[in-house]
Symmetry: C3
Subunit: 263 residues, 3 copies
């Protein structure tokens, strides 16, 4: 039997909004340690990894490891019916083919339960090896979202270049070119407004803006975002989820030769 009670239910709503544009169907893995998910996006280019640790739930009961397959669009339809202050409980009986979402209003006057059919989804769990990154950039998540959106109005891909002084986002398109430089800045009033660069060596990688823009749907989950970059490794775009875990997006860089062959 599975029963997970999350007082801050709006967090689960935001998690779904962060993923549903990228992923159609996915298996959520429930174990004693937490509620997690790993899924490729529908075009098999990007990877999403979610972890909500068991300690972050008000009540967490998971008798045995369970993998529950859900359509994220339908799950999101149901979670949108929860109020932003509602407590959300996820329930599934052993051997059942459905999951129940229960929403309780703060004063307990309104109780809703939504039952959704589960799906059988083939999925293989990819091992993501720990890696050393050449550069790690932490910056305000809203700033990163704004930059990805702005550059999308000019071009399709972005070159992210990190030096000790800052991180540069560049694009080019039919109407012109654009460069946006964010300087390292640790002396800010609020720590979440800092831009901090940890760099082993300079790195410059090219990515499709379309996917980065999808990743920024996670912006409401965290005030900061971390970009981990290395040549020949996928970038990791991570949003920490306060006291619970994270949502991470992985995207392989574009290889210049590929670019030229296509064009």
């Amino acid at each position: 039997m599975l029963e997970l009670r999350l007082v801050q239910g709006s967090l689960l709503k935001k998690v779904l909004e962060a993923m549903r544009e990228l992923v159609n169907d996915a298996n959520f893995d429930c174990s004693a340690t937490g509620f997690s998910l790993q899924a490729m996006d529908s075009s098999h280019v990007a990877l999403v990894a979610l972890l909500l640790r068991s300690e972050g739930f008000e009540h967490y009961r998971c008798d045995r490891n369970l993998s529950i397959g859900m359509n994220l669009s339908n799950m999101s339809k149901m979670l949108r019916c929860a109020g932003n202050d509602d407590i959300i409980t996820i329930k599934a009986d052993d051997g059942t083919d459905s999951v129940t979402f229960m929403f309780e209003s703060p004063n307990q006057d309104k109780i809703a339960d939504f039952e959704m059919k589960l799906m059988d989804i083939d999925s293989e769990h990819l091992g993501i090896p720990d890696a050393e990154y050449q550069a790690i950039v932490r910056m305000p998540s809203s700033e990163f979202a704004r930059i990805c959106k702005d550059l999308s109005s000019i071009g399709d891909t972005v070159v992210i270049s990190v030096t000790k002084e800052g991180v540069k986002f560049s694009t080019a398109g039919d109407i012109g070119t654009a460069n946006i430089v964010c300087r390292q800045n640790k002396t800010v009033d609020k720590p979440e407004e800092a831009t901090i660069i940890e760099m082993q060596e300079p790195v410059s990688l090219t990515f499709a803006l379309r996917y980065l823009n999808s990743f920024t749907k996670a912006t409401p989950l965290s005030e900061t975002v971390t970009l981990s970059l290395s040549s020949e490794l996928p970038v990791v775009v991570e949003y920490k989820i306060a006291e619970m875990g994270y949502i991470r997006f992985y995207l392989a860089p574009k290889i210049e030769e590929d670019e030229e062959m296509k064009s």
Copy 2:
């Protein structure tokens, strides 16, 4: 001659917004007692009844009973040109084929008059007999609107079931099922947030969500809504209009046999 002056003009704007999705053309009936309307929706399934009592107007002159036929969509286009703080006056001369809406800004700097052609509309006035209802539920209008909207994302019809403990709204659709229970609650800080149930006997009736959602366009008119339910009678969804009257929507329950025949 007809001349009705309403200081709180925004109220008339809200009344039109509440009705114009359901009703295309309708006769407004003006008499010494008030300004009223009764009309079927364009698919002849739901009935709307409006009453604005003469005492609620700052100035109310109606020399003889008059029925003025108006296209609600055009009337709404004109009323939307009134500012939210404007005083609205409705004028019609005897024997005329047009009506004038006058809008005065609070400081009298801006005066607008809009003249609209009247229409000849066939309509029969249905007598709505007073009825005893098995259950009457009073609840916050925004809560009712939210529930109808949320359930529409799951199914097409809602079963409303009233017991002494509360009122349950249930639906089912392709992606799953949903139940929302609102408990009776009289001990709230603000009286308009209470959910109060007056019940002679339990009742459970099925309605098309599409119509209930149209009714909730009246939500801005009142903080509370009253649902009056009896087997074999149309539900009455009533929004009181402060110190003036009400807007009531009537909708017949769906019969289970009909349902089965269709499916």
Copy 3:
């Protein structure tokens, strides 16, 4: 070499939003006195004239007169990437075929440069003779925008009639007629809320609402708008740009005979 630095960058964003619906491509003329533009709208009915005086810029360097042709839609795409508090600098080298827009965040943490190709645009500069107007109306720009929008829901053209008492805006359409009168009013709390009429003789002119509605895109630039009216002259709709200049729209009145021939 051209280098114009504007601390209040949002102003340039608003100028572009004010013009881009009317004008596709235009030459900006840069001289020692300022940054200006004159262009016909794409249907060659209305004329736009912009002036931003050199004194209004924090830094203004223009070595020789320069005319730079830009696609306003592309320019607007780039300027929308500037934050509302950003400082904007426009740069062009002599003999270059591109212009650079630089955006600096207030704390200098984020610096963006956008480069856009210039265009060769044929344009003749119309001399606009100084004229005596029969009536000049100054009124709140939001009020004028609201009136043009409201009347558009009723008709296609507006008759603007000025007398000493006030200015009347009238229209007629399939669903009826509308008249909105704004009375002269100098005794208001805030000077920008005044409606002031300077009149030599009464005037009544007819204009296409479609163009007036386009002009009101300039409303965010100024709290007041000035309408200068004379028979047989185009109306001038002017929005002053604080301490910098103005944007003016010119539109010829419709001649009644034309109207009758068309209908």
